[in-house]
Symmetry: C2
C-alpha cells in the first residue's frame, strides 16, 4: 500500500477543534487514484480474509457525517474492494418498529457482526444523538448519551472488537451543493436514498451550517477515548475520500493482525474486608404451611391482576434468579409462573452459549432476550454467571470478570431507564441446609436427576463462592435494579417473598409511570 | 399414567362433524383429579427430559379454541407439571410490528422451538385465519390458507417435529358465561389477559355461537391430515380438560420416544428423459468490453434509480445466485452491488449451518433472512444447495432432497405473494471454460484462494451436477419466481444480463403494484 500525499490524522484529543484545523486534502485525479487503488485492493482483500480465517475478532466500521450521500458512496467503494459477502451492512431506512420499545442500543446489539466478519454501519449509534443535537440541542442529553456510547464501545473493544470510526468531513460548499440537489432545488435525480432524517438535517445544514458542524464536532470530541478514536476524513473530493478510508481500514486491519491487543479490564478485585453480606441474613424464617397456602393464592392473584392490567402494557418485567445450588430456585419459579398469564411469559434458562453467541460479546446472549412491553421474562440463572461460576471456576480471566461488574451495571441501567422493572433474587441457604437437600435428592428416585457431581464439586468451593457472591451483591446493587436477598432455608417463606416482592416492584413502577 | 374414565379421540377424519358428535366429558372432582395428576406428573416430566436429552426433535403444542381463557388455563397447568424452563411460550399480545411486512408465517418461523425443546403456542398459525372466518368468512381464503398450513406442518413433521394440536371445545353455555364476564357484563375481575382479538371473537360468540363454532370446526376439518390431526378436548370442566391435555401430551411424547417415525418424503426422483435444459443454452455470447462498460454504467444507474424510488419502499427484492463453480458469481454480484444504495442492501453468503440453525427445519436458516420492505437481499448460493450439492454429495438423504422441491416452491410462494420480487440466476459455463478458469486461478497468485481441492472434486461429478441442475430448474421454475439462465462463458455478457434482468423484474413488479 502506498502512503504518499494524503495523510490521515490518527486520532484526536478530547478538546481538539477538529474541523476548523483539519486541512482539506487535495483532490485526487483519476490517474493518481488508479495507482493508489491498485496498490490497495489486493492487500486490503487479503487482510479481510485473514481476519475471517482467524475468526478471533469482529471489525466494526462506522461512518458518520453531514453529507447525506458520502456514507453510501464510501460504503459502495469498500464493497467493491472488499469481499461484500463477509460484510454485514447495517442501516435503518424505515421506521423503528420493535426497536422503539427496547433500550436504544438494542437494534445495534442485534446487528453486531460476529467474530471474523465486518460490520459496516451506515446507520450508527451516533445518528439519533447527532440528529437531536442538530435539531434540539441539549447539553445534558449529549453528555449522558455520549457516556453510554463510550461505555458500550469500551465493552466492544474489551471483548476484542476492532472499532474503526470515520467522521466524513466535506467542505461547507460541497455539502450545501449536495443537500440542495437532494432537496429538489437542482434537477439531477437522486442517485442514493435520502431519508426523512437526512432531509431534516439537510435543512439545518443549509440554514445554519456552523451549528450543524459544531454539533458533529462536539459529539466526536466527547466520544474519542483512546480505545475508540474518531478518524476524521477531510475531503470533499470523492476519490480522495475513498482512498483515505480504504487505506485506513487496511492499516487498522494490518495493525490488529500483527499486534493482538493486551487483555483489557481490571484484573480481578482485592479481597473484601468486613463481614460478608450473606452473614447478615437470618436464613431460617418461619412460615406455616397453612399460612403459606393462603398467602400463595393471594399473591398469585395479585400478580395476575397487575400483569394483565392496562398500565402494565407499557412496562415490562425481568425477574432474575440466582442462588446457591438447591436453594429452591426451580420451586420458587414454578409458583411465580402460576401467577402470570402464559401469554405474557417468557422463560430463559441459561445454558452453554451457542456458537452464534460465542461469536459475540459475552452479554449478547442476554441482550437478545430483553423483553417486549407488557411481558414478563424470567431468567433461571443470569448474566451474573460471569462473576460467579466463571470467576470461581476460572472460566473467565480475572480481567474479564473484573470488568464485568461495570458492564453489568451499564446493561441493567440500559434496561431499566426505559421503564422495565428488573428484580434480582439471591436465594440463600446455609451450607448445612444445602447438604441435607443434596442428600435428600440422592435418596428420592424422582429427584435424582436434580443432583449431579458438579453440585458436589461446587460445594467444595463454598467459601470461594461466598466471596464472589458478596462482591457481586455489593457491586451491583442499584437503585433501580436492587438485589433482593431471599432467606431460603424455609422454602415456603422464600416462595412467598419472591412473589410478593415482584408484586411490590411492579406496583411501584406502575405508580411511577414509565419514563419515556 | 392412569387412563380410566375420560377418553381422548385420537384424531378426526376430514369430514367429521366433530363438535356436535363429541360427547362432553364428565367433570372431574378434586379427589379424582389429584389421583390422576399424581399418576401423570412424574412420567410427564421424565418424558420431557428424555426428549430434551435426546435433542432429536422439537415438540410443537398448539392450543386453539373459542373460550378466551381456556388456552391460558391449560398452558398454566402444563407449565406447572412440566419443566417450564424448556418450554418456549409463543403468544402475540401486542401489534404485529415487523411481522406485518413479511410472509404471514414469518413470526412463527422465528419462534419455533429447537430440537429437544417444546414450543407451547398460545398464539397459533390458525388464529388469524379463525378470526377472519368468524368475522368475515371467505371460503377461498379459508381453503388457500388451510393448504398453506398443511404444507407448513408437513415440512415441520417431515423434518422431525412432534406436532400436538388441541382444539379446546367447551359447552356453549360455559363459553358465553366466560365471554360475558370478560366483556364487562359481570363483576369478577379478569384473571388473564383479554386481547382485542379475543373481544372481537367474543362478541360473535355471544351473538351467533353456531357461526363461530362452525368456523372453528371447518378450520379444524380442513387441517387434520394424517400427519397433523387435531385432538378435540371436549370439556367445560377445567380439571377434566387439563388432565386430558396433560395425558395426551404424555402419550404423544412416549409414543414418539418409543417409535421414531419412518423417513418421510419422496425418495429421490426418476432419471429425467429428454434433453438437459443446460444443453439448450448458447454459452458463448458476444459482448465487447467497450459496449460492456457503457451498458454497465447505464444498468447500475437504472437499478439505483429503481431501488431508491418511493414505489420500491413497498416492495423488497431477493436476488439468488447459483451456478457452476468459477462461473463468475462473485464478479457478477460485485457489479450488481454497485448499483444498489448500501443502506438498502443485505448480503447473505451461504455457509455451514450454525448449531442454532441445525436445531431447526432445514429452511430456517433462509427464513431468517427474508427481507424488510424497501431492501435488496443478495444470496450467494441459496436454499437450492439442498437439491444440488447435498443431493449429489449425499449430504441429504433421497427422501430429504426428494421432498425439497415442493418445500422450496412453498417457500418461494410465501415470499412472492406479499409482493417481494424474487430473481433466481443460474450462471452456466461449459466444462472446458471451467477447466481453463480453474487453471488460471491456480496460476494467478492473488486468485489462488479462490480455488480449493473441493472445486476439483466437484468437477469430477460434473454429470451428476448436470442432472441435478436440470431437475432443479424444471421443478422450481415458477411464474413469480422464474429461473434466469445466464450464459456465462463471456463474463461481461453475464454481468450485464444479471443487472438488466434485475431491473426488468423490479420494474415489472412496481408496475404491477404490491399485492396486499
Amino acid at each position: 500500500v502506498q502512503s504518499t500525499g494524503l495523510r490521515l490524522e490518527p486520532g484526536l484529543p478530547q478538546s481538539f477543534k477538529m474541523f476548523g484545523l483539519l486541512p482539506f486534502a487535495d483532490p485526487l485525479d483519476r490517474e493518481a487514484f488508479d495507482l493508489r487503488e491498485e496498490g490497495l485492493r489486493h492487500p486490503l482483500l487479503m487482510a479481510q480474509y485473514q481476519v475471517l480465517d482467524a475468526g478471533r475478532f469482529p471489525v466494526i466500521i462506522q461512518l458518520l457525517g453531514l453529507d447525506p450521500l458520502a456514507r453510501s458512496e464510501v460504503a459502495r467503494r469498500l464493497l467493491e474492494w472488499m469481499d461484500a459477502r463477509h460484510i454485514r451492512l447495517v442501516a435503518f431506512v424505515g421506521g423503528e418498529g420493535e426497536a422503539e420499545t427496547r433500550p436504544w442500543l438494542w437494534k445495534f446489539w442485534k446487528r453486531l457482526p460476529p467474530k471474523g466478519k465486518a460490520g459496516l454501519f451506515l446507520s450508527t449509534w451516533y445518528d439519533s444523538l447527532l440528529k437531536d443535537q442538530i435539531l434540539q440541542p441539549d447539553a445534558a442529553t449529549l453528555e449522558n448519551r455520549a457516556e453510554d456510547i463510550n461505555r458500550f464501545e469500551k465493552l466492544l473493544t474489551d471483548e476484542g472488537a476492532l472499532l474503526i470510526k470515520f467522521a466524513l468531513i466535506a467542505p461547507e460548499h460541497d455539502i450545501k451543493e449536495c443537500v440542495r440537489g437532494r432537496l429538489g432545488r437542482k434537477k439531477k435525480p437522486a442517485p442514493w436514498k435520502f431519508s426523512e432524517e437526512d432531509e431534516a438535517i439537510g435543512r439545518v445544514v443549509l440554514d445554519n451550517y456552523a451549528h450543524a458542524s459544531n454539533a458533529l464536532e462536539s459529539l466526536c470530541a466527547l466520544t474519542s477515548p483512546p480505545h475508540a478514536r474518531w478518524s476524521p476524513i477531510a475531503a470533499g473530493d470523492d476519490r480522495a475520500r475513498e482512498i483515505m478510508v480504504g487505506e485506513a481500514v487496511y492499516e487498522a486491519l494490518e495493525a490488529r493482525l500483527r499486534t493482538p491487543p493486551a487483555p483489557a479490564g481490571v484484573p480481578g478485585l482485592p479481597a473484601h474486608r468486613g463481614p460478608n453480606v450473606l452473614k447478615t441474613l437470618s436464613l431460617d424464617q418461619p412460615l406455616k404451611r397453612e399460612d403459606y397456602e393462603a398467602r400463595l393464592i393471594l399473591a398469585q392473584e395479585r400478580l395476575a391482576r397487575l400483569t394483565t392490567s392496562s398500565a402494565f402494557e407499557k412496562c415490562a418485567c425481568i425477574i432474575a434468579f440466582e442462588g446457591h445450588d438447591a436453594a429452591g430456585k426451580g420451586g420458587a419459579i414454578r409458583r411465580l409462573v402460576q401467577g402470570i398469564d402464559p401469554r405474557l411469559l417468557r422463560m430463559v434458562p441459561v445454558a452453554a452459549p451457542t456458537d452464534e453467541e460465542q461469536a459475540q460479546p459475552w452479554l449478547w446472549r442476554f441482550w437478545r432476550h430483553v423483553p417486549a412491553p407488557g411481558t414478563v421474562t424470567i431468567f433461571d440463572r443470569t448474566w451474573y454467571g460471569r462473576v460467579l461460576v466463571e470467576r470461581v471456576e476460572g472460566f473467565a480471566q480475572p480481567h474479564e470478570w473484573g470488568r464485568a461488574y461495570q458492564e453489568i451495571r451499564d446493561f441493567e441501567r440500559s434496561i431499566t431507564e426505559g421503564g422495565t422493572v428488573l428484580v434480582k433474587f439471591w436465594l440463600a441457604i446455609s451450607a448445612e441446609e444445602q447438604l441435607s437437600r443434596f442428600k435428600a435428592r440422592e435418596e428420592t428416585p424422582h429427584k435424582r436427576h436434580k443432583i449431579t457431581p458438579d453440585d458436589w464439586r461446587n460445594r467444595e468451593k463454598w467459601e470461594g463462592y461466598q466471596s464472589a457472591i458478596h462482591d457481586m451483591i455489593t457491586r451491583t446493587h442499584l437503585d433501580r435494579a436492587p438485589w433482593i436477598m431471599v432467606e431460603a432455608n424455609n422454602k415456603l417463606f422464600a416462595r412467598i417473598k419472591v412473589i410478593e416482592t415482584v408484586c411490590e416492584a411492579v406496583e411501584k413502577a406502575m405508580r411511577g409511570g414509565r419514563k419515556a
